[in-house]
């Protein structure tokens, strides 16, 4: 039984009158890839944003490596080893690729060289683009940069929000295989995806979010066979 790295306990998030998350509980063990799937507006991104401190939960608890980080500022959460690749990549468009990566090492200044080496090993393309402005990269390259940038902080847990968004199928496969490689190097991954097929393919466990609450959870391989999941998220009309 490996150590529980991240634990979310009956989390509630409200945006004004909108109840975005209702009593969500889940846990992530060291070394896992856990995927959260669900349709638009199910609360997947909100859950990641709450974990990384970008939104304040109205109730519930978030434990990171045993420490209660529910009210922590984002910078404290990054320092504790949890990095977030936000939805839509959010590259610093007018900074160079190198500067983008350097910003990723903000919480780990002084360990920039190691981080750069790792990023270039995972994404050789970034090395070729080092002095180019981030905004001039292609969508796939921007996603690589966003992931590389988050890895610069040497996180124990990497939160990935829809890395496949808007990418061509070939690139999606490439990104997923890199996620698997990052995980094999010892980084625990929480993957939010709409591309349920690919996500369930690389994850060990999965949770399904529906309108702000957890609907189904289990081993990714079981969920991939679950008729409810097949019908709603894998486009299998014949599943019962």
């Amino acid at each position: 039984m490996s150590e529980t790295l991240l634990e979310v306990d009956s989390l509630d998030v409200r945006y004004g009158a909108i109840h975005a998350l209702r009593g969500v509980s889940f846990e992530v063990k060291a070394g896992e890839i856990v995927t959260l799937i669900g349709s638009n507006g199910a609360g997947k991104s909100t859950l990641l944003r709450a974990i990384s401190g970008l939104v304040r939960p109205s109730s519930g608890r978030i434990l990171l490596r045993g420490a209660d980080v529910t009210r922590f500022a984002p910078e404290a959460i990054v320092a504790l080893g949890c990095s977030h690749v936000p939805e839509g990549r959010r590259i610093f468009a007018n900074l160079t690729v190198l500067e983008n990566l350097q910003m990723g090492a903000w919480a780990k200044r002084g360990r920039e060289a190691q981080g750069l080496e790792r990023a270039f090993a995972l994404f050789p393309r970034l090395r070729e683009r080092l002095t180019q402005a981030g905004g001039t990269l292609s969508g796939g390259e921007q996603q690589m940069l966003a992931i590389g940038r988050a890895l610069m902080a040497e996180p124990a847990v990497l939160l990935l929000d829809e890395p496949s968004l808007g990418l061509a199928p070939l690139l999606v496969r490439q990104i997923f295989s890199i996620v698997r490689e990052i995980n094999a190097q010892g980084t625990t991954v929480v993957l939010v995806e709409q591309n349920a097929h690919q996500a369930l393919g690389i994850a060990s466990r999965a949770y399904v979010l529906e309108t702000g609450a957890l609907a189904i959870s289990g081993l990714a391989s079981d969920l991939a066979r679950d008729p409810r999941v097949r019908r709603a998220y894998l486009g299998d009309e014949s599943a019962e």
Binding site: S52, L54, A73, P74, E75, I77, V78, A79, S83, H84, V85, P86, R90, I91, F92, A93, N94, L95, T96, L98, E99, Q102, M103, G104, W106, A107, R109, E128, L130, T131, R149, A150, A153
Partner: protein
């Protein structure tokens, strides 16, 4: 300190000395006054560039901080400095040692006000922040207008009634440009050092910066604090070179003028701010011969420039490689390797 930087400092001092002694010989006092105003405009524009250009927070109340710097430094000189200068004899060296004090006083008061404004205002974004800063600038101006100890609506003369013989004016071009150079150096060092990347990251994408562990509120408040400090210094310089100040000089029109400097120069370029502050301060004087057509031409030039170069004269580039730009060095190294 390396030989190259010693040489650079030597050249700078020589240039300042030349400005101090040659300019009044070669030019009539009118031009000397304009040169001084340009130096002050550069100081104020560069300070605003830190907030608007590098940190991406659109502040349009900068004249308020200049006003605070001007009035607090003037009050410092009139109520305290005059007595000190009188007792010390007021020789050249004494004056040289004295004048940094009112400037620092003006800067500190403005920085304190900057902090008071920044903490609530920087929770706002975009247009809302702009309006809040505009309001803050006007509040400061109107508050000063109602303080009788600094002249109120009559304006404030830098003359002490207790020590009428003491000259509190400081119309030294070397002083004005020395302060401008120090301001540029301080802000260049801040934004182009490794840690300065955080300012630009906040400008580019605040949420991404936050998710990477940048304490974005602290970064923004820091930018505002430093920026208002140097705006205060610019105001103090203005007060001491002009010898008389009135709140009319610090209305929102002045704030907009400063915004025009940074936008026209290029948001995110210190040399752009210097260039635009120089050109736009000199231009109305150059065009003076055109009479009433002057401001029309000035406006047309502004509009045309913004249509032709919406990114500003220099965009985000710098004219010279700034000696403190560590990351630019890295960028050059990267380019060499590629």
């Amino acid at each position: 300190m390396s030989g190259a930087s010693l040489a650079r400092i030597g050249a700078l001092l020589l240039a300042l000395a030349a400005l101090q002694w040659l300019a009044p010989l070669a030019l009539n006092p009118y031009y000397v006054t304009i040169l001084a105003r340009i130096g002050i405009a550069i100081t104020a524009a560069v300070s605003l560039q830190l907030v608007n250009g590098f940190t991406g927070q659109f502040s349009i109340g900068h004249a308020g901080f200049m006003a605070l710097g001007a009035y607090s430094s003037a009050a410092f000189s009139v109520y305290l400095g005059a007595a000190v200068l009188d007792s010390l004899g007021g020789g050249g060296l004494v004056r040289l040692v004295y004048f940094p004090f009112p400037l620092i006083c003006g800067g500190l008061v403005a920085a304190l006000a900057g902090l008071v404004v920044a903490v609530p205002a920087l929770r706002l974004r975009g247009d809302y922040l702009a309006i809040a800063t505009l309001g803050a600038g006007e509040i400061i101006r109107i508050a000063i207008l109602n303080i009788d100890a600094v002249g109120g609506a009559r304006g404030f003369s830098l003359a002490s009634s207790a020590y009428p013989s003491v000259d509190l004016r400081f119309d030294s071009l070397a002083g004005v440009y020395g302060v401008a150079v120090l301001t540029i150096a301080a802000i260049a060092r801040l934004v182009y050092s490794g840690g300065g990347l955080a300012f630009r990251a906040v400008r580019e994408d605040e949420i991404a910066a936050e998710s990477l562990g940048v304490p974005t509120t602290r970064v923004k408040v820091e930018a505002f604090l430093v920026s208002s400090f140097f705006a205060g210094v610019a105001g103090a310089l203005f007060a001491h070179t002009e010898g008389y100040i009135h709140t009319n000089s610090f209305s929102f029109v002045r704030s907009f003028e400063l915004v025009a400097f940074v936008v026209l120069g290029g948001l995110g370029s210190l040399s752009g701010a210097v260039l635009a502050a120089t050109v736009l301060t000199a231009l109305p004087e150059v065009l003076r011969g055109l009479g009433e057509w002057r401001m029309i031409l000035y406006s047309l030039l502004l509009i045309t420039t913004m249509i032709v170069r919406p990114q500003g004269l220099l965009g985000q580039r710098e004219l010279l490689p700034l000696p403190w730009s560590a990351h630019r060095g890295a960028r050059r190294a990267g380019r060499g390797a590629a």
